[in-house]
Assembly symmetry: C2
Homo-oligomer: 187 residues x 2
């Protein structure tokens, strides 16, 4: 396997960044987790910025693929919309982690430009998908669906953040319920 180490590094870095952010990434701990030496990571990712950008890029690529797969599978926009919060729920289930790009959004001022771009791409991917699904479900006009999509994305990110700060998964569920009750998400 030529790039198994590279994949292992990406996977470990993703897990770490979801719990400790970009600033929490460091070559030594990452190397120990993968089972190689710190300097070897520089072979695959010359600088920390390269690593961070690669992790964030992989993150939104995976998310985009998962969302498209969900849509292709169910063929039901409303059902997809209903399941969308589960995407963010999974991170909380997995050791009270959070969306890598939400964390990095907070760290915005300290991110290399290449990383910032990937973080924005994650938001773009989510908003575009939500907008498409909202339109398909005929829940909003094509102009309004874009703004609604952004609102849903931001609200869910906030719910995840609040739930994480309490280590309380049920709080996340309650917040999603409240969004539905308030009309932000379809009931």
């Amino acid at each position: 396997m030529s790039s198994s180490a590279r994949e292992a590094i990406l996977a470990a870095a993703k897990r770490t960044a979801q719990a400790h952010g970009y600033g929490g990434l460091n070559f030594r701990d990452l190397a120990a987790e993968v089972g190689i030496k710190a300097a070897s990571i520089h072979y695959h990712f010359p600088s920390k910025a390269d690593l961070g950008a690669a992790v964030a890029r992989r993150y939104w690529e995976d998310t985009a693929a998962a969302l498209e797969a969900m849509l292709a599978e169910t063929q039901d926009p409303l059902r997809c919309l209903h399941r969308y919060p589960d995407v963010f729920r999974k991170a909380l289930e997995n050791g009270n982690r959070m969306c890598l790009c939400s964390f990095m959004a907070a760290e915005h001022d300290d991110l290399p430009d290449a990383v910032k771009r990937e973080v924005q791409a994650f938001a773009d991917v989510n908003v575009a998908w939500l907008s498409k699904v909202l339109s398909a479900a005929a829940l909003a006009g094509s102009e309004e669906s874009d703004r609604r999509a952004r609102a849903i994305f931001a609200a869910i990110a906030g719910a995840q953040l609040l739930a994480r700060s309490r280590s309380d998964l049920s709080l996340y569920d309650a917040l999603i319920d409240s969004y539905r009750a308030a009309g932000l998400l379809p009931a």
Copy 2:
């Protein structure tokens, strides 16, 4: 002035933490900003955890006072509710910063317990105030108002996070508008 340095440290630490989080706080830079030496900060705050907790505590105390003042001044719950998003907008206006406690919520796993407690207190203060105002405006039953308050708080935190990641203040305004259009916030 006995505690002017202490106050200056707290103020500088607040500004820094709003842009770089708890992890971004460091004694050297803080001292330089205040005009004293790094070691001197340890006189006022023995450890970084003490400093972080003090900053977070002061943050929610100030917020609580500002919210109560707003309520006392206008005497109009609906008007207060309408102005609530401005509290979070101010951080963005001030150098694209964000709520100190939202940032620290992301850093949850790396926070000393004392800091975590103050971060939670900030959320409690906001939710309690919102809940009170919602009830007073007769917009929700006393049970429902609590859940609605949490939803509003989380959604606004998410909006701030997203707007910050784009350095786009108008995006924050657009998101608040969308929340109103969707019925999460009163129009």
